[in-house]
Symmetry: C2
Subunit: 517 residues, 2 copies
Amino acid sequence: MDAMGRSTKPSVEGSKKPRATTAPASAPGSGADVGSDFLQLDIGQAPPGGRTAWLADRLRSAIADGRLPVGARLPASRVLADELRVTRGVVTEAYRRLAESGQIAGRGRLGTVVVAAPAAPRDRARGTAQTGPALFGSADREGVVDALRALPCRIDLSPGVPDLAAFPRTEWLRAERAVLAGVTPADFGYGDPRGALALRRAVTGWLARNRGVRADPDEVVVVAGVAQALGLLAQILRADGIRRIAVEDPGSLGARQQLEYGGHAIVPVPVDAGGLDVGALRASGARAVLLTPAHQFPTGVVLDGERRRRLLGWAAEGGVVIEDDYDAEHRYDRPPVPALRSLASEGVCYAGSVSKLLAPALRVGWLLVPPDRLDALVAAKRYADLGNGILTQLVLARLMDSGELERHLRHVRLRHRRRRDVMLRAVEAHLPGARVHGAAAGLHLTVTFRDQSGGFRDTDLAAAALAEGVKVHPLSWHRISPGPPGLVLGYAAGPAHDIDEGIAAVGAVLRGLRSGR
Amino acid sequence: MDAMGRSTKPSVEGSKKPRATTAPASAPGSGADVGSDFLQLDIGQAPPGGRTAWLADRLRSAIADGRLPVGARLPASRVLADELRVTRGVVTEAYRRLAESGQIAGRGRLGTVVVAAPAAPRDRARGTAQTGPALFGSADREGVVDALRALPCRIDLSPGVPDLAAFPRTEWLRAERAVLAGVTPADFGYGDPRGALALRRAVTGWLARNRGVRADPDEVVVVAGVAQALGLLAQILRADGIRRIAVEDPGSLGARQQLEYGGHAIVPVPVDAGGLDVGALRASGARAVLLTPAHQFPTGVVLDGERRRRLLGWAAEGGVVIEDDYDAEHRYDRPPVPALRSLASEGVCYAGSVSKLLAPALRVGWLLVPPDRLDALVAAKRYADLGNGILTQLVLARLMDSGELERHLRHVRLRHRRRRDVMLRAVEAHLPGARVHGAAAGLHLTVTFRDQSGGFRDTDLAAAALAEGVKVHPLSWHRISPGPPGLVLGYAAGPAHDIDEGIAAVGAVLRGLRSGR
C-alpha cells in the first residue's frame, strides 16, 4: 500500500468525485522504494512460495474489474520482474497462465495485451490460478465449480441456473416499494433468527400449493439457500454424533463438498432408474442421507414409490433424510412429484430455495426439520448470521402471497421447455450415440457416451469445449465411483441459438477426441 | 396437523384468496381423534418432558403472530387439558408463564384473555419459555438476548440499535430502481463468494474515508454482519489450531457466545480506562483476541496509543487481533479514533457492518483479514452460504458511492446526540449516584452503581424494570468476572420522551430495590 500515492493510473478512490475525508492522505513519494506502479503491485503481499500464483491472480483481478481493459498492454516481463524484484520466470509463468486461459496474448511488437475479459466481472473465483485443462484435470476439486464459473466463455451450458434474463424486475421493484411503505422501524432491528414471519408464512403457503407439504410457519427456518441449509445440517448432525452422510452417486459435487467441509465423511450410494438404492443405503450403515428425490441430480430420475416407502421406513427407524428439493417446480412432460416431506415429517429435513425459481444471487431458501432438531437448527442459524436480511425476505413474501412468483414460474417454464427441446434436437444432431437422461424436468439434462473406441475422459471433452469457448460440466465431476463419460448440460439460462451452437461445438471437439486428434 | 381440516379459526392458508393447488386437501374429520381445534394444537409435537414449555411457546407464537389477538379468550384449562390429553397442571403452568410475562391475564368470569401482544411480532425468539425474572436470573445465557428481544415492552432501551425510524426508505427505493435497471442477467446467477465487486469497492472507499483503512477490494469479504464475521473467524482459527480466544471483560455477551458456539474457550482480559490490558493478554497465553478498540463495548473507553502499539507488537509476534469496529462512526464530543487496521494490516482481522449505520436487519458487513488467511476465509464464506444476496449489496454500494450513506450518518448523528443528552439528563435526575461511562460516542452508555447499602444485583434491577415495561441490559450479562452492578442503556433507537420516561421508571424500581421493597 506504500506506493498507492504514486499510482499513474486512476485508483478506485481517485475516480470518484472528491469529498471531505478524515483519512490521512498518502504523501506522494512516501513509503519504501519497492513495488510497481503498475497496478500498485507490492510483492510483499505475496505469500511465501506463491509469488507466481499471486501475480497471476492480481492480473486476473485487474482484468476482471476493468483496471486492465481489453487492449491494455502489460509491461515487458523483464521490466515488471525488475520492479517487483522477482526473477523473470515468475512473471513469464504468470503471463503464461493468463495466456492459457485466453485472457492475454502476445501481439508481437505490441507486446502482451489483454484480449478477453470475463463477461461478468463479479463471477470470479479467488485463489484459483487454474487454467481450463488444469482445472478439469485436477484431482482436488475444492473450489473447482467456482473456478470454472470464473473463467470467461462464449456460451455457458453449466447446469443449475434458470432463465435469469426473465427475472421479474418490475414486479420486484413494485413489491419493494410496498414493503418499504409498510415496514415498521422495529422490522429494521435485530429479528427472529428463523426469518421474517411474513416469509415463513408465505413459504408454508407455497409449499402447500406447489409441493404438497403441510407445515406451520414456526417450523420453517429461512436460510441463505440450500448451500447454507446443508452447512447448518452438517453442523447439527455432527453435534448429534453423526460423522458420515450418504449421498447419491452420481450426485451434486457442490452439495458433497458442502458436507465434507462441514466435517462429514461421504458414503456413496448408487443411483439407478428407480433413484437411490435404499438397500445399499441400509447396508452402508450411514445414519443420514442427502438425496434429490423429485429430480435426481444429475441423472433426472425420480425416486420410485416402493423406494420412497422403504426410505421412510429407514427414517422411522432413526435415519435422517435430507431432501434437497432443488428444482422440482420445473417440469415439462410429467406429472408433479410430491416431496418426500409431504408423506412424512418425522425424520425428513426438507430444503428448498428460490435459486432455481428466481435467481441464485438472492440467496434465500428454507429448511424444515423434525421438531426434535428445530431448537438446534435455530441456534445454528442464529450463530451463523442472526438470520437472513429483511428486505429481500419481505419482497419475496409479497411475490409469493400475490401469486406473482407462480406467474413467473409459468412464464419461465415455457421458455425453459423450448430451450430444452432445442437442446434435445442439438444433441441428436451433433452428439450421435449420446444417451439423454432426465429431460422431463429441471433445468439441465445429462448425456452419457458408451464409446466403442475405448472411450475418452469427459474432463478432456469439457476442457476441449472450454477451449472453444463453451462451458459444460463433465459428468465425472459429479461421480464418486467411476462410470461412463458424460456431460451435464444446462439449457435454461441462455438463448436457443447459443444452445445449438454450443452443442455443435461440443460435437466437433468430441469427434476430434475420438479420432485421436 | 391431522386436525387442520377441522379448524374453527381461519388458518393462515384459509385467509388467502383461493387459488388452484396441487396439494391434497385435508378431508374434514380425517386423522386420529387427538388434539385440539384450538390453534390446531397437537400434543404429539411436544418433546417428551417438555409439554409445558411447548404449550407456552405455541400460545406465545399465536399471540405474537396475531392468531390470538389482544382480547382473545383462551379455553378453560380443564377443557384444553382434556382435548390435549394432558394433566391440567400442564395447562395451568403454561398459562401462568404467559401471565407472568404480561401476555395473558385472568379476567374473572371472562376467563383468561390475551392482554398484550409484542410490538414487533417477528422479533420473537424460539425455544425460550422464559419469563422476565427467569430470563434475567438464568445462569445459562444461551439465547438470552434473543429471548429478551422477544418479550413485549413499552420502552426499549436495549443497546446496539440506531435510529431505525430514520431508515432512508426513499433513497433506498431510488437506489434499488437504478440497480434493477442496470443489473445484468449474470449478476442474478451464482457469484463470487466474497460478494459483489461493486460493494467491495464501495466498502474500501467508505473505510478509507471514514476509518482511515486502506484496502484493496480483493481483500474485502462481504459478510452477513459482524456476527457472521466472528463465526467465520472462529472456524478458520480453529482450523489453524487455535482453541482459545481472549475477549474484553466486560465485553459483548453476544460476541462471546458467537465464539463459544464456534468451539472456542473464552479467556477474559480486563478492561480499564485505557482499554484492554495488553499485559494481561500477553500473560494469558491466548493466541487471538477480540476487541473493540475505538469504542469499547460496553464501557465506551478508547484503546490508548501506548496499548495500541503494544497490541500491534503482540500481533507482529504472531498474535491474531480481531477488531470489531462496530459503531465507531457514531461520535459526538471527541475526534475520530482510527481503526487499528489503519495502523497495520498484518495480524489484524477487521470487521464492520451497516447494522449501526443503517439497520441490523440488512445483515451486511465486511471482513478484512491478512493475506495469509484470505483463502481460508473465502472458503469458509463459500461453504457458509455462497456469498451474500446480490440486490442488497448493490443498493448499499450505490448508497455508499453516492455519498447518501454519509448524509444519512450526519443526519442520524444529530438525532442520536440529542437523545444521548436527554439520557444523560435523565440519568442525573433519576439515578443519583450512578456513574456514566462511554457517552462520548456510540449508541449506548453504561452506568454503574457503587452502593453503600451492600448492593443489589443488576439482573434484579433489569427484571424489575421489565416488569414496568422498560427493557434494559444488566451490565453483568456482559461481564465475565464479577464487578459492580450496572446497566447498559441504548439511547439511539427511540424518541426522547421514551428515554426520559424509561430512565425515570428504572430510577423508581432502583429506589424500591434499595429500600428492600
